[in-house]
């Protein structure tokens, strides 16, 4: 023990003497201990581009607001853009065969992107007067004065826009008409745009607009008092179908000679066993349409005379694509039906529904769930018949391309929407598993190192350099499926928005297993399931070693807090769902208690909307442990809307009609009410529960000691004046005030309160050890700032006296308790920081000895590592000699941004949302996982790898040195012998 302390002191000494070295990387080290994966998210729309020879692509827009061009052969991303979160893509299409057209922000921004490289070509802003549906029509072969116009409806106006430069050709305002436009139609060969919509939900209106100048050619209307449900669907250029508000009447709208005819049919007359929830499926098929009911989907043909014929009924789970025009005026569409671990894809021709043009059965992984969407595309085979490829989007948000009954490629795009992350250890290497297979023979090993030596001495040929790079990247060590000594190899377990759990290997980022959780799938009891939290459930370390570790997934069945919740426990090695429970009581908060039972299952408290606490696991043993410790269980809740913090403790068992011994009533211990007229809670941050602090003492200059106030129960709360809660630019400096508080969550005591006048949010903060670092906007300087508050325990300050220590009159052994109300003092300082910030985190190591780096996710989707010493509140303009020795940096007003200290180096983690750090077993090293639309993983050594040799270490050079030394010793020995002899002869 004493040795360890000595060692660590020496180590600290050694570390503090280093100048602040940033994490940095050589270009040939990329991919060596990091990996980067690019995703796009769940596809909403897809447009194929396969007509021309050359690269075949599909352009997609997704729910993560990404537009991307994918290689149709391999599924790789050619290019990709992530649009702003307020700029949601409404429609996409391809114009002129070379531009991708996107309509976004409710039809107010139209952009064209160059198809080959994704460069934006033009952008048009369409200033509408009121919000409306956004519609986009790109006519295939319409020419108006050498230009091909694009028609856009947005903001209650119809626009014709030049596809060459984005110029607005004409604009027709529909605001005064009060029409709610549903469809924009342009039949082939004609030069009339049909605008179809509903006015006051009781009248159908059609307007015929001249494509040349926007002039109104014809207007027809017909009143329909029943109102309509959903949308008007076009059947052909002069026929439309709609459902009335009661969802029991189908209305066929046909336009003939400028007159509108309405024809009503009872749904129950058409389909006899029709039940409620009828809806028209918005798949555009010409001549037919489909309606869905609770139990099935029916295809209905519309004859020329306006008769409705039910052609076929299929199962409700069938997914229908849009119609695809083939040659000779034929149209085809696809149906996908889900079978047991396979899917049936059938392509039918619209004019001949009775037979399948093509029928294929594709084996499908059970864990991909149901098919959600399908897009089809055709190609001409060598025998001039039509072949089809289908792009399908699955329940787990993955994207697959099917062709000739096989999956050509698949993309795990569910990983673009990670909700929560945790890690798991890998299994221990068992006896009998041979290691020697993986290890090279000694000769090979030496050869590799000789190559490396050549590399360092710059003697290697280009071929050899390539070889060296290959050896490095293919290090078989890093992707093994067993636990390693340094703790670099782990499983990252991530929960995605689709309710799928993935385990990624930290070595190379591959998916080890994935599992679509049954508890988070849509069902009758659980209509809108969303994942909430991921917690460690069982971590076998000392007991229950035969068990695999497992994780707890908590989800909720609806958007409201009082919706019932669902739970799953999943084996971390295999991905098997061990238990699933649900629907249960509601869940507002999940608290992982620091207790575990004899099988090392962690105790968890789930707090419901009625403030009752539910204990898991539901075993008598857990209940007993909890009863014993219940007096020391505290938690808090943040009610941001009303500005109240509350602290709670456990009172008694619940008074329910059905006795439940795992349910506990709670009592409110304290409340802090922020005045709503002056303070609005915008951010709360607490310490990571598993953080390790090495020492409470901080040795400062002049051999003085300060004691950190270390408590797991500190909460950082940031509030702003209500006027300043909007975005930057909406408030003046005088009316904005940012107040930060440090609150003890057991007693509700406010430890520290500080205000920044003229500052506003958004606030991003991180709390670790005894300090909090937060980022906000300073309106007076109009720059971002990062502030630090460090909090010290004054009651232990007298312990410096050696005499007292000897006599034993010290309180070093007194436990740190929230109830002891120690005197605290704080130090703080603010620095300018250049960029906006999306997320902020801090490195964590196994023993907490290594110095810390802040990990700042900037607006450019990069992660910057900033040494904590830059945000030390004790930095001063002219540090004394002693302070310099301590490693204190001279004060600067701005925090430096060193490009080499971007841990993501030349990569971007598009759509960055979170940065997770996990300590490795090696004290110097921390594992960093940044996620957003992309994933990035790397290993960091904030104080360099002082406790191990880097992989770059050149053993050959060491051997060479040793050999040289031995030779030198031998030579000198011989020389000295000879000299001795000569001396003796003299």
């Amino acid at each position: 023990m004493a040795m360890a302390i000595k060692l660590s002191i020496l180590l600290l000494f050694f570390l503090s003497s280093l100048i602040p070295t940033s994490f940095s990387l050589y270009e040939d080290q990329v991919g060596f201990m990091d990996w980067h994966q690019r995703y796009i998210g769940k596809v909403k729309h897809a447009v194929f581009h396969t007509q021309k020879a050359g690269r075949k692509r599909v352009v997609v827009s997704t729910e993560e607001n990404v537009i991307a061009s994918l290689d149709l052969r391999r599924g790789e991303i050619f290019w990709r853009h992530v649009l702003g979160s307020n700029d949601v893509v409404d429609k996409i299409d391809i114009a002129l065969g070379k531009y991708v057209i996107t309509l976004s922000s409710e039809g107010s921004i139209l952009r064209a992107w160059n198809l080959p490289d994704g460069q934006m070509v033009w952008e048009s802003f369409l200033s509408g007067s009121k919000s409306s549906k956004a519609l986009l029509t790109v006519p295939a072969n319409l020419k108006v004065d050498l230009d091909s116009p694009i028609f856009v409806y947005g903001g209650a106006c119809l626009y014709a826009i030049s596809s060459i430069d984005g110029e607005i050709l004409w604009k027709k305002d529909f605001t005064t008409e009060g029409i709610d436009v549903h469809q924009l139609l342009l039949s082939d060969g004609s030069d009339v745009v049909h605008v179809v919509g509903v006015t006051d939900s009781s009248q159908f209106d059609t307007y015929d607009i001249d494509v040349r100048n926007g002039g109104l050619l014809k207007h027809a209307s017909a009143s329909f008092p029943g109102g309509i449900y959903g949308e008007i669907l076009p059947i052909s250029s002069d026929k439309f179908v709609a459902l009335d508000a009661s969802r029991s009447l189908l209305v066929l709208i046909s336009i003939k000679d400028g007159q509108i005819n309405l024809q009503q049919t009872q749904v129950s007359d058409l389909i006899h066993e029709a039940s409620g929830n009828t809806a028209i499926i918005p798949s555009k098929l010409s001549g037919i349409f489909s309606i869905s009911t609770d139990t099935f989907i029916a295809f209905i043909k519309v004859t020329n005379e306006g008769k409705l014929d039910v052609m076929e009924k299929v199962d409700k789970m069938v997914v229908v694509s849009d119609a695809l025009p083939l040659s000779e005026g034929e149209q085809a569409f696809a149906l996908v039906q889900h079978g047991d671990s396979k899917i049936h894809l059938s392509v039918r021709l619209v004019h001949d529904m009775s037979s399948n043009h093509l029928k294929e059965t594709v084996k499908m992984d059970h864990d991909r769930g149901f098919v959600h969407k399908i897009f089809i595309n055709n190609y001409v085979r060598t025998d001039r018949s039509h072949g089809f490829r289908a792009l399908i989007v699955m329940e787990d948000h993955s994207l697959l391309l099917l062709q000739q009954g096989e999956i050509v490629w698949s993309r795990e795009d569910g990983l673009a929407s990670i909700i929560d992350v945790t890690t798991s250890e890998l299994p221990v290497e068992k006896l009998g598993v041979s290691v020697s297979k993986v290890e090279h023979s000694l000769f090979e090993w030496l050869k590799g190192h000789m190559l490396k030596l050549k590399g360092t001495l710059m003697l290697a040929t280009p071929d050899e350099i390539a070889e060296i790079q290959k050896i490095r990247l293919q290090s078989s060590e890093k992707s093994k499926m067993t636990r390693d000594h340094n703790g670099f190899r782990r499983l990252l377990i991530v929960l995605t928005r689709a309710g799928k759990l993935f385990a990624l290997h930290t070595g190379d980022g591959r998916v080890v297993w994935s599992s679509l959780l049954q508890s988070l799938r849509k069902s009758d009891q659980c209509t809108h399931p969303t994942g909430l939290k991921l917690h460690q459930w069982q971590i076998p370390h000392h007991h229950a070693l035969d068990n695999n570790p497992s994780v707890l997934v908590v989800g909720r069945c609806g958007p409201s807090l009082s919706a019932s919740s669902a739970m799953s426990i999943v084996d971390a090695y295999t991905g098997k769902e061990l238990h699933n429970m649900g629907p249960l009581h509601s869940t507002v908060q999940v608290i992982s208690l620091p207790f575990s039972d004899s099988t090392e299952q962690q105790l968890h408290l789930l707090i419901d909307a009625d403030k009752r606490a539910h204990l898991y696991p539901r075993t008598p043993e857990a209940a007993e442990i909890f009863q014993r410790e219940s007096e020391n269980v505290y938690w808090y809740s943040v009610e941001a809307e009303v500005g109240i913090l509350r602290g709670y403790g456990v009172k008694s068992s619940c008074n329910l009609e059905v006795p439940d011994e795992y349910c506990f009533e709670t009592r409110n211990l304290w409340s802090i009410v922020f005045p709503s007229e002056s303070e609005k809670i915008i951010a709360t941050v607490t310490r990571k529960a598993n953080e390790v602090v090495h020492t409470q003492a901080k040795v400062i200059a002049e051999e003085d000691v300060m004691y950190k106030y270390i408590s797991k129960n500190i909460l950082f709360v940031a509030t702003v004046s209500p006027k300043a809660s909007g975005p930057i630019g909406s408030a003046t400096p005088d009316e904005s005030l940012l107040v930060v508080h440090l609150v003890d969550t057991v007693t509700g005591r406010i430890l520290h309160r500080m205000s920044h006048s003229g500052a506003q949010g958004p606030v991003h903060a991180v709390l670790s050890e005894n300090w909090v670092v937060y980022h906000y906007f300073n309106l007076r300087a109009h720059r971002y700032e990062i502030s630090v508050i460090e909090i010290y325990d004054q009651s232990r300050a007298e312990n410096k006296d050696v005499l007292k220590l000897i006599v034993g009159k010290h309180n070093l052994t007194a436990p740190v308790s929230s109830y002891s109300r120690p005197e605290v003092s704080t130090k703080s300082q603010s620095y300018f920081f250049t960029h906006s910030v999306k997320a902020i985190s801090v490195t964590s190591t196994a023993k907490g000895i290594t110095s810390k780096h802040l990990l700042i996710g900037t607006i450019g989707d990069k992660v910057l590592a900033l040494d904590k010493r830059f945000v030390d509140p004790r930095r001063s303009l002219n540090p004394t000699q002693a302070e310099k020795e301590e490693g204190l940096l001279p004060l600067t007003d701005t925090l430096p941004i060193i490009p080499q200290s971007y841990v993501t180096h030349a990569f971007k983690v598009e759509g960055l949302r979170g940065i997770e750090t996990v300590p490795a077993k090696l004290e110097s090293t921390t594992l960093v996982f940044a996620y957003g639309v992309d994933l990035f993983f790397t290993r960091l050594a904030p104080s360099r790898t002082y406790d191990s040799l880097t992989e770059d270490f050149n053993y050959a050079l060491l051997l060479l040195t040793i050999v040289a030394l031995v030779v030198a010793i031998f030579v000198t020995w011989v020389l000295s012998e000879r000299k001795d002899l000569q001396d003796k002869w003299r």
Partner: protein
């Protein structure tokens, strides 16, 4: 013109100039292809046209912050005042160095190099490495020390040896902070 009124809000037009980018149409360096312009920390995001121009539409009056994100370049955020009283007046300043801008043309302050440059091999790096130092020290001890001892007066050597004996063996405690004080 930088700012003009359009309907409910104002339009901010500007240009990003990256050396070697946007000279002529397409065929841009991949680096500049993904450049983004960000208003107010992510409230709006827009992209560059081939000639480097960008615009934000429907921006309310007030003081705004524009950031440019282009991999490989460091841009200073720009403070832009959109004033309701005198529309069309240019008021923009780099926040990093408080330099005012007459027109909204944003240029990178510097290029960003994300990787360390590998130093070409030189003999000094070998000498400076721990192993090099070890060899150097050995050389000094083996070849120079005997020379030094030779040149010294035998009496002085004896004196020095005696002194060393009196002092005793240096301990690690002397090296520790505070430990030295006891002597």
């Amino acid at each position: 013109m930088l700012i003009y009124r359009n309907g409910g809000g104002y339009t901010i037009n500007g240009r990003v100039k990256i050396p070697g980018f946007g000279a002529k149409g397409f065929g841009l360096p991949v680096k500049a292809n993904n450049a983004k312009v960000i208003l107010n920390g992510g409230q709006r995001v827009t992209f560059l046209k081939p000639d480097g121009y960008f615009s934000f539409h429907n921006v309310p009056a007030g003081t705004h912050l524009i950031e440019v994100d282009a991999i490989g370049y460091f841009f200073s955020p720009v403070r832009v005042d959109v004033s309701a009283r005198n529309p069309g007046k240019v008021q923009a300043a780099l926040t990093e160095n408080r330099r005012g801008l007459n027109e909204l043309v944003l240029e990178p302050l510097r290029e960003e190099q994300y990787y360390e440059i590998r130093e070409p091999f030189n003999i000094m790096s070998i000498v400076k490495s721990p192993m090099g130092l070890m060899i150097g020290f050995m050389v000094v001890v083996v070849f120079l020390m005997p020379k030094l001892v030779e040149n010294m007066d035998p009496e002085e050597i004896r004196k020095a040896q005696e002194e060393m004996r009196n002092q005793g063996v240096p301990s690690i405690a002397n090296l520790m902070p505070g430990g030295g004080r006891s002597n």
